[in-house]
């Protein structure tokens, strides 16, 4: 959009009468003119098509629009109130937090592990790098379909162990409806209750086992990307630092822990932000792999938003869900943007 808008802006300029253009060009430098002309269309386009529509969604989220006929009657925060009372949305919040935590954690650990292994100046590094990065070139839809089959209880992994001669496993993967949580009345629940955290003894604060299958698929796709980030970070660490540590008698593990990891903190933060905002709004992987899952065990806010808006025609509630998602992502991204802007200003 930005590119085509800018090109059109240039065309517009070319069409001006020549004498006037010359006059204008005499008063300001070409660079300044080009900068303004190039930037205005994209600013306008982003202003309308991003921020304008965010504002419109916010407007819809406080309206009564729950049929196909738009109805902008103001209802305050009613939609948000009913949304947070909705049992499905409560489950979705649990799922999103669990998914984000495990997915980001797994990607960071695996990505860093792969990067540390590849950073040993081994032969054929480029080949391995490509292999690990390839899953990222695949669309989440494709990943979802493939892993749906791989983890289907009647096919894929379960069958593989059987064909390999081991005893067959009957693990349900994403069909497993188990939620691990602190059962009310158990000893641990009593401890929680004593600490004033009794509300945690509830399935809505549990671990949905089916979600682990989705985490596996997402991690498969994204850990290569994290590896590349870490690899670049590792390469940016001056060899002298490590060399000096070696001279001081530090082991390789110590070098990794005391020198590489602290210097990689900005990379870790960037990776967390990129993966985190992706997992908070994940949709395509879930809809192609598991959909709601057993008892909403793999349901996510984006899927709920899609069904509410486009199947139930409840546009105001759908807008409310999308605003909640936007706020969640903002909480993650805005401090990071502020931090990196400040850092840029310092440099």
């Amino acid at each position: 959009m930005t590119a085509s808008g800018a090109a059109n802006g240039v065309d517009e300029r070319r069409r001006l009468p020549r004498s006037r253009l010359r006059h204008l060009l005499r008063t300001i430098t070409g660079d300044q003119a080009a900068a303004v002309v190039l930037i205005v269309p994209s600013v306008l386009a982003v202003g309308v098509f991003v921020y304008g529509f965010i504002g419109w969604s916010a407007l819809v989220s406080v309206s009564k629009w729950n049929t196909v006929r738009p109805d902008y009657t103001y209802v305050g925060l009613d939609n948000f109130r009913t949304l947070f009372d909705n049992f499905r949305f409560q489950i979705d919040i649990r799922n999103t937090i669990f998914f984000t935590a495990v997915f980001v954690g797994a990607c960071l650990v695996i990505g860093f592990g792969l990067a540390a292994l590849l950073d040993r100046q081994i032969k054929g590094e480029g080949i391995f790098r490509s292999i690990y990065l390839f899953p990222m070139a695949v669309s989440f839809i494709v990943t979802g379909v493939v892993w749906r089959w791989l983890l289907a209880p009647r096919a894929g992994v379960n069958l593989l162990t059987e064909k390999a001669g081991f005893s067959p496993i009957h693990y349900g993967w994403y069909t497993d409806p188990t939620i691990h949580y602190v059962h009310a009345g158990s000893r641990f629940a009593d401890v929680l209750h004593w600490a004033g955290l009794g509300f945690l003894a509830d399935p809505n604060y549990g671990i949905p086992m089916a979600m682990i299958s989705v985490v596996i698929a997402a991690t498969w796709q994204m850990s290569g990307f994290v590896m590349v980030m870490y690899l670049a970070g590792l390469r940016a660490i001056p060899e002298e630092l490590r060399e000096a540590a070696r001279v001081d008698g530090a082991s390789e593990v110590q070098i990794l822990r005391r020198i590489s990891l602290p210097l990689l903190r900005p990379v870790t933060l960037s990776a967390m932000i990129i993966l985190g905002h992706q997992s908070l709004k994940i949709f395509d992987l879930v809809i192609s792999m598991t959909r709601r899952g057993p008892g909403f065990a793999t349901d996510v806010p984006a899927l709920f938003m899609y069904e509410t808006t486009f199947q139930a025609n409840n546009f105001s509630r759908g807008a409310a869900i999308s605003i909640v998602m936007l706020v969640a992502v903002s909480i993650l991204v805005v401090p990071y943007l502020a931090w990196s802007l400040r850092r840029e200003a310092r440099l």
Binding site: G5, P41, P153, Q311
Partner: protein, 435 residues
């Protein structure tokens, strides 16, 4: 001077950008066709866009048959545009349709499930024209059963023409499994549970379910509600005369829970047709699914298929239908009305339905065109009590259906009858049918 020129340039650039945007936006809008209001019905011209999600197999072939019939029934020079959006039982198509209708660009006529999916989406919101005149003119009030006329009407006026009828409450079973184990297909829930226990003892899954798409479990619940409450009790759920909080609904939900104890454990990873594969292979004995499953059996060349009304629903026809209606501001209303005439005609329905694998909504179609299952369905259609299907949009509004579907998805896992019932009561209240 310098600053002034800069401001001038900035304004100029912004104006240019606005122009670009305006031109870009303007491209999307088409001029209304000049033929929209002109001309008499006898000389139809222009384009007629028929919007549907029939893109593959028998559905697409049947649609083409209807297109082929159009020129002879509707003299003139109308060019039919086949506007299809594939996928998801129409979910993708409905989104595109919503965008177009809200954008003031309705197609000539569009496919929509009969009943509340049409009524509560497009009729109550004033996007559709009533077609009672067409029904009178074509004499359709006597060829369609009264049950279906009630479902397609809002405030006494019909709003769409049903092209086909599918039945949701069918129990499909593997004949060989039943004869091998000396069993009879069950007609009541008591019989069902007796048969199911016998099958379970033999290591056969009694009931195959594939609810990766949530409609399958909702449809199962709907057949149980119908079988337990009867046709009147079931109809009352949707009009507010049957109490969702009542003991008979509790009993039905208990039956539903018991039924779920006999399904395959991996149901949430399978689609309905993959569940049917379990019946075909003999791993499972029965499945409760709509009669589009008959087409799946034919495609997979499965000969041992038996069918019966789902438990407790003998004499009841849980119907869903694809219908076509007339949008307001139709770009070519006369051509569209003639399309509806073709879609509701005997010739049209006889051409379409054998290919689609459904029966005519009309009761006067030629039996010999249909296979054995469809003939039995036609017999039932002519005499059974007709009730609207919940899972396929006929019984409840889309948002009510979404609430019920959420409650059922949770229930299939947590099996909490009290929780399900209170959520169903809340859903009815949210739909403003119950107070």
């Amino acid at each position: 001077m310098l600053a002034k020129s800069r401001v001038y340039l900035l304004v100029l650039a912004m104006a240019a950008a606005v122009l670009v945007l305006a031109v870009g936006c303007g491209d999307g809008e088409e001029e209304p066709s000049p033929t929209a209001t002109a001309g008499t019905p006898s000389a139809l011209t222009g384009k007629l866009e028929i919007f549907s999600w029939w893109t593959t197999g028998g559905e697409a072939a049947g649609l083409q048959k209807l297109f082929d019939l159009y020129p002879s029934a509707c003299p003139g020079d109308v060019e039919i545009v086949n506007a299809t959006v594939a996928g998801g039982g129409g979910a993708a198509a409905r989104q595109v349709l919503t965008t177009r209708m809200l954008g003031g660009d309705p197609p000539g006529s569009f496919q929509v499930h009969m009943g509340h999916e049409l009524t509560d989406t497009w009729v109550t919101t004033n996007y559709m024209e009533p077609i009672d005149a067409l029904f009178q003119q074509e004499g359709w009030n006597s060829v369609f059963p009264q049950g279906i006329l009630d479902i397609i009407s809002y405030q006494g006026k019909p709003y769409s023409v049903p092209v086909n009828i599918h039945r949701a409450n069918v129990l499909w079973y593997n004949k060989k499994v039943f004869t091998d184990n000396n069993l009879q297909p069950p007609a009541t829930f008591d019989e069902f549970f007796t048969v199911a226990d016998a099958l379970k003892a033999k290591g056969i899954t009694p009931l195959a379910l594939g609810d990766v798409e949530s409609f399958a479990s909702v449809q199962l619940l709907e057949t149980v509600l119908l079988g337990s409450l009867g046709a009147d009790g079931y109809n009352g759920l949707w009009t507010g005369t049957t109490d969702w909080n009542g003991a008979d609904v509790t009993a039905a939900l208990d039956t539903f829970k018991k039924l779920l104890g006999y399904v395959n454990s991996d149901h949430s990873s399978l689609s309905w047709d993959q569940a049917n594969d379990l019946v075909i292979s003999g791993e499972a004995a029965m499945t409760i699914m709509g009669d589009w499953l008959h087409g799946d059996n034919k495609a997979k060349n499965f000969q041992d298929s038996g069918w019966a009304p789902s438990p407790g629903t003998t004499g009841m026809y849980d119907a869903l239908s694809d219908t076509f209606g007339l949008p307001k501001d139709d770009p070519n209303p006369d051509a569209a009305k003639c399309w509806l005439k073709v879609a509701g005609s005997k010739a049209g329905q006889e051409a379409f339905n054998p290919l689609k694998g459904s029966i005519c909504a009309r009761t006067d179609c030629d039996r010999s065109l249909f296979d054995e299952y469809l003939q039995s369905a036609m017999d039932d259609w002519a005499q059974d009590a007709i009730v609207p299907s919940l899972a396929h949009g006929a019984a409840a509004s889309p948002s009510w259906l979404a609430d019920i579907s959420d409650a059922v998805t949770a229930f299939v896992t947590d099996q909490d009858v009290g929780g399900l019932q209170s959520r169903l009561v809340d859903a009815c209240k949210a739909a403003t049918v119950c107070s």
